[in-house]
Symmetry: C2
């Protein structure tokens, strides 16, 4: 049975490589032309395959888009995580907030992927997928956890100056929504008038966490568990 085993391992790793090639091609297409322009034909052409062959490695277009979305989400988090080490809580919050919006604005396709990959292409997406869970594949349970966690952790470092905020979790959600909203409005092709987003974010953070609670008092911010 050793031979069968080895063959199985080999085919698995080959399959993994092919999936990677497919995802690479798909990513390039989305970056160049947007999620809406992603199609099995284009991917196949890009890697010199026939469209039919892609279905060996992915269930369909949607699964590919979702995979790219997860990737993008991890990239976004990776961008923010180092900022969690900034010692001063206020600085840290500012840095994370601006970095979040900057990422969204600088990588609109990826941001689109993160938040839109599912619903795309309404009519087809509404057909139920009757497939009863493809055989074999371990099927990761991965759904992206919400970005508000990172924000909530940072916010809890700001609680002191004046018995401030009741519920850090709620405020973190609001903050996240605000940042998401700024990105979406900036990317929206709608002619809605908008100010530059930098000052908007600063104004919001200031009004939320500014040094206004007791005028004259020093900033005095706790900085819990921030290494280095």
């Amino acid at each position: 049975m050793a031979i069968a085993e080895r063959k199985d391992r080999e085919s698995r790793s080959r399959a993994h490589d092919q999936r990677e090639r497919i995802l690479d091609a798909a990513r390039r297409i989305v970056m160049r032309e947007g999620l809406a322009a992603l199609s099995m034909r284009k991917i196949a052409e890009a890697i010199g395959y026939s469209p039919a062959s892609l279905y060996i490695y992915f269930e369909g277009r949607d699964e590919i888009a979702e995979a790219l979305g997860r990737e993008g989400y991890e990239q976004l988090l990776a961008q923010l995580k180092p900022l969690a080490n900034i010692a001063d809580a206020r600085e840290r919050l500012h840095a994370i907030a601006h970095a979040y919006v900057a990422y969204g604005c600088d990588h609109p396709r990826t941001y689109e992927l993160i938040f839109m990959a599912h619903k795309e292409r309404g009519p087809r997406a509404m057909r139920q997928r009757a497939l009863p869970d493809a055989a074999g594949a371990p099927e990761e349970p991965a759904k992206p956890a919400c970005g508000a966690q990172l924000l909530a952790a940072t916010l809890s470092g700001l609680e002191q100056p004046g018995g401030m905020h009741a519920d850090c979790g709620l405020l973190a959600q609001a903050l996240w929504a605000m940042l998401h909203g700024v990105v979406m409005l900036t990317l929206a092709p709608n002619g809605f008038e908008r100010a530059a987003h930098g000052p908007v974010i600063d104004a919001a953070l200031d009004a939320w966490f500014g040094i206004r609670a007791a005028p004259g008092e020093p900033p005095a911010v706790r900085t819990p568990g921030a290494g280095s």
Copy 2:
């Protein structure tokens, strides 16, 4: 020439009626199946026309979608405007904020229309439209003004309690972004974990405009120009 004039008037009003019929059908389709499912063929079928005839009244699918988007935006504003008469500024702000999000969540298709109608269908939208402005039609210059105006007006009523916010306009933009973000995250089909939006909005408004600036002091809010 009187006859020609009358004929012209008649044909104009007929054309207007037909446009309305087309928009009605389009609106119904979008409400039922989403913007992505809107197509010229479906509209034509719904009103018993041939697809070709629609091009007499509209330049194409995009123009129809944009018209629906403008409509939706006006409906949203119409929903909010009466709330601008609430005398107490804080109450007014709360009412508007919650109404805004409620509208977005209760009418996801319309909200989609308002903010997405343009970019839809990437590849086709990227083709430049070479048509040199269809003859005759007066061509309204309407682009929706930004919803932040309404918010800014209300915010300026909150400025008093403690020399509060530096720039009302910026804060209004942030507030708008936050509300938009809440709607978008609520509508996103992504499995991002979220709290119910009501408390999130309240927490945000509280932290922004709450009665925390000087503990013990009465609310003391100006209420400028709010009739009745």
